[in-house]
Symmetry: C2
Subunit: 186 residues, 2 copies
DNA sequence: GATTTATGTCAGCCATATTGACATATTTCG
DNA sequence: CGAAATATGTCAATATGGCTGACATAAATC
């Protein structure tokens, strides 16, 4: 009940138009303070669960990101990973080396192109990736269960709409392709 | 059209149960890959807009967070800010000092308790805070406009539900109080 | 007057990111 | 074939933004 009241109150506050005399130019719309701050806190909590597990292993978020995308896209090239993460190969280098050295990720020479080092998770790596994804899924499932059925779809469409329109299709294709790729046993 | 098709395809993929033979234990639910990855990319884009502006000023995300919360909660104590950001005072110190030195934030001695250094944005600071919030609001408004009316409320409830239940009321109170605090002219 | 509180600061460490330059192996193209 | 482009890795230096621990100061509180 407390939640519901607070949420309603918040909605009320955010929807009413400003009557103040702040310096905000009349041309600009009222900032969406509620969504801005909720996104900040929600994202922090969202990555907080994995962070705890990772910290015990001596890993950080960088390791999580690498492990996540390699698990989701087995056989991906190093260049693909750099492109997704939008970091430099020097930054990736250290993190990837640790994951390889500790047997979470392995690199195979490309069959066609032997310059490539295709990336795969080991069983150990998959287990960790699934553990971390499980934590986040638990949070998501709880959230979606709190709201009505059909919320999964709305949430997905909201988050999709928040993406840069320019890169949107690329992201959606990445997600869809990863869903495909992992269906057959490798 | 491309978007809609891809979104529908994505929904289809995510909702169908796994038929693969991966190492995921039967007890665990299927990871919500779509929400996990969309949240990652959406959040990145969301903070990407401010990042560009900040970079030109020689600031980073840390400065943004400080400026944002001081703007939203004028007169807040340093201790309050530390508590919201969940960082140490040493980390805050550097960033805050730069904002104060460059006249984005000012500190006033507390009227009751003269040990306190209450934090306020200057007009310059408010202008920047509003500029950054404006960029994010534009993205949010675009997203909400793409989806139907009433989506603002669903998005807010979804993000609220994603918060740690333990700290949820605290976050909602913070947001609601900030909305109040800035109504009257200071 | 002693203790606690609010804040600031010094010193050093760590993780993760950056740029630029260069090395190696391999593929591709003229 | 040989040159150029590509995929990857690595060395060195630098920046940001976190962290811990120790200590200092001023003011409030007991």
């Amino acid at each position: 009940m407390a939640d519901i009241n607070l949420t309603a109150k918040l909605a009320d506050l955010a929807n009413r138009s400003s009557a103040s005399g702040t310096a905000r130019p009349a041309s600009a719309p009222e900032p969406a303070w509620d969504i801005i701050e909720l996104l900040f806190f929600a994202y922090r909590d969202f990555v907080g669960d994995p962070d705890e597990v990772l910290a015990k292993l001596g890993f950080g978020r960088a390791h999580h990101r690498v492990l996540h995308f390699v698990n989701r896209n087995p056989g991906m090239k190093v260049a693909d990973l750099l492109d997704i993460l939008k970091i430099t190969k020097q930054s990736l280098g250290r993190v990837l080396k640790q994951l390889v050295d500790q047997n979470y990720v392995l690199q195979k020479e490309g069959a066609n192109d032997r310059r490539q080092r295709l990336l795969y998770v080991t069983p150990k790596g998959e287990a960790l990736a699934l553990k971390l994804a499980g934590l986040q899924t638990t949070r998501i499932a709880r959230a979606l269960a709190e709201l009505g059925p059909g919320t999964h779809d709305v949430a997905r469409r909201f988050l999709t709409a928040m993406l840069d329109p320019a890169g949107r299709d690329r992201v959606l294709r990445l997600i869809a392709r990863a869903d495909h790729a992992r269906r057959p046993n490798t």
